[in-house]
Structure formats: structure tokens, C-alpha cells
Symmetry: C2
């Protein structure tokens, strides 16, 4: 059955990119067909869970055969809205900003950094990846003019909330925040966090 009207929970959405990543990997290896069992084995997820997750969005497999990798990839890309390229603003041109600007994996998977801001005059004018670093003072103006809806915050913790406020005010609806603080944003703005130390501390508990 195609998408009954019950709300799909975010935890399900969170697994779709993992499935997509695994499918892309298999495809690159030349494989054409896979099964929920094989995918589950590789990802450490039960096959039932994978089938259940996918069933929220449609029927993508064939009984007895499994899933066509290319087709399922395309469907997941469509569902996740990464069958297009999202212009992404990057705030912060430090070491981390530099790494992100140079990372080709973003573009391959639906996101392209096309504007970079930093408040350090020494960085402004520098070329990083495809972009020239702009003054942070122009952030609101540029985000509004080009209609950026996705931003990556890679500035120190002390500046992150202020940067987020400017992004939100300018129309950004999705923020990937590398600063080690929880941001305060309106309910219609999505935030995801990356803080390596949280992950390390979670593991050191078990050591």
C-alpha cells in the first residue's frame, strides 16, 4: 500500500539515507539486485525493519527476487528529495569549513556548497573549493537573494547561536550545526548536530 496517512516518524526517515548509501556502494561494485536480508546484514539492521521502513513509501521489491538496486536508489533519492542539488551555504572558513568545502561527497549526494562566509578579513577573498569566502556581514543579504534553505554552521560555539539566528531570519530551514551547543530555533527549522566528542564520550562509557 502506498503511504497511508499516518505520520511517518523521523526515526524512519533517519534510516533512509543509510539504505541509500549502502545501495550506492553496492551499485558501484556492479551489483544489480539485493534483498532486505543482504542489506540488513551489511548494516546491522534486521531485514524486517528494512522492509517495514520501505513499506511506508511504497512497494519497491519483488517477491522471491528482492530489490533492483538502481530503482530503489532512485526512489529513495526522490523520497529524500536528493534527486536534485541543494545549494548550501557554509558559515565558517576555518579548518573544518575548509575540509567541508573540499569534500566532494557532499555534491555527489545532493548538496553543493555555493557560498562561504567568515568574519575574519584574512579569510575573505580566499578561494575554497568552488567559492570565494565572503564577509559574514553579507550573510543575510546573500542567503535571501539566492534563496538558500540549507546551511552548515562551522564556527566556534560562542558565535553559533548568533549565526543560526541570522540564517533563520534570512529563510534557512535546515541547519547542520558543527558547533558543540544546542541551538534554539523556531519549530519549522530543522537542525542536525555533529559533535565528535559526543560520540567519543558515548563509547568511552563502555571501555
Amino acid at each position: 500500500m502506498v503511504g497511508n496517512s499516518l505520520k511517518i516518524h523521523d526515526i524512519v526517515i533517519g534510516r533512509l539515507p543509510i539504505y541509500l548509501r549502502a545501495l550506492t556502494f553496492l551499485s558501484a561494485e556492479g551489483q544489480e539486485i539485493t534483498s532486505s536480508h543482504e542489506l540488513g546484514q551489511k548494516l546491522g539492521i534486521s531485514s524486517a525493519q528494512i522492509r517495514k521502513d520501505l513499506s511506508h513509501f511504497g512497494e519497491f521489491g519483488k517477491q522471491g527476487t528482492g530489490y533492483n538496486i538502481e530503482y530503489l536508489s532512485q526512489q529513495l533519492q526522490r523520497i529524500l528529495q536528493v534527486d536534485r542539488e541543494w545549494e548550501t551555504a557554509l558559515i565558517g572558513a576555518g579548518d573544518l569549513g575548509r575540509a567541508l568545502a573540499h569534500y566532494g561527497g557532499l555534491r555527489e549526494r545532493g548538496f553543493r556548497i555555493t557560498a562561504i562566509f567568515d568574519n575574519n578579513p584574512a579569510k575573505q577573498g580566499q578561494k575554497l573549493g568552488d567559492c570565494v569566502v565572503k564577509d559574514s556581514a553579507r550573510m543575510a543579504e546573500v542567503i535571501k537573494e539566492y534563496g538558500y534553505r540549507v546551511a552548515i554552521i562551522a564556527v566556534p560555539a560562542a558565535a553559533a547561536q548568533q549565526v543560526a539566528d541570522i540564517c533563520v531570519e534570512a529563510g534557512v530551514k535546515a541547519i547542520l550545526n558543527y558547533a558543540p551547543i544546542t541551538l534554539s530555533v523556531p519549530a519549522d527549522v530543522h537542525v542536525q548536530y555533529i559533535d565528535p566528542v559526543l560520540h567519543l564520550q558515548r563509547m568511552s562509557y563502555y571501555l
Copy 2:
């Protein structure tokens, strides 16, 4: 009641570093006391959940008053085993490795990169943060000799599984993996993943 014998679930462990981070932030602002309600407000987590999570490990608050921030911080650090410094090996001295090596936040919060490896001869011998980049060929030897139990993988996807295998064989028990693939490791080895694109794709679903 202090730690009844039921297993504490990993999802609870995963929130403790977030609480610790918020407490450190409040402490830096000069605040001495907080409540589950205040913490929850700042983090977007219910106060009941915070109290429940903490109750797995002991009684850290006072009725009518709340929690002493310094005391609770210390207790969380002890529980998470970050009341010490974990020597951490970093594999990969590209842009990302460089950003990690320069990032002071790791050391402040319990993890210190004291060995860096790269298979590119041009990188070997370079100084990055406190370390000189070593040949990846020496990885197993160095990890064994100094007893590293924590490693950060910041190499391209194609090399990540092989690097993980070497780390595991040499005794590493906790891996933070930045490569966009799911690693295959023995059950007693913990892996955490950071892939910015997974987060971005999770948000673009809603745009």
C-alpha cells in the same frame, strides 16, 4: 536507588554527553545550580526524561533545589569515564584529519590525539597539532606499543574497512568513523559514525 542491575540502554548513555555539554556551558556562564526543567528547556528534552536518565546512576539532585552543576558534571564525567584523558589515534591527515588535529575541543573533553597516520609520503613527517604524521605502515605497531584503545578514522571510504581491521587487530575498542561506509567489526568493538550527508539528507526530506 543506585544502579539496579537492569542493563542501562545505550540510548540513555547517548544522552549523558549532551547533558554534560550543557552543564559545562552553564558552568562557564557562572551558574551554579540548575534543574531538570531548565536543562530540558535548553535541550528540547522533557524534564522527566532527564530525571529518569540520571536516576539510573544515582541520586544527584536535591528536592526543591535542583542539581549542583559542578557536582553533576563531575559525576557524569566519572560515569562516562572522561574524568581522564584517552590517548587517541587519528588515521588520515587530509583536510578533515587536519581539522581534528587542530581542534582543541577534543582534549578539553577527554580525548587527546597523540598519534596521526597517513599513507601519503608527502604528509609523513609534517607536524599537525601536537603530532608528527607517521607512515600508516606503522599503525599496528604503534597502536600495540602504546596501547591505544580509541581511534578516529578519517580516510577515504575505499580505505576505511582495511584501516578498521588493522586498528581492531591492534587492540582498538572504540572507533569514530568519518568514512561514509558501515564498518564490519567484532561485537566487542564500538563504532560511531559521522557522515554529514546522512544528516543533510534526513533534513531535505522535510523541505
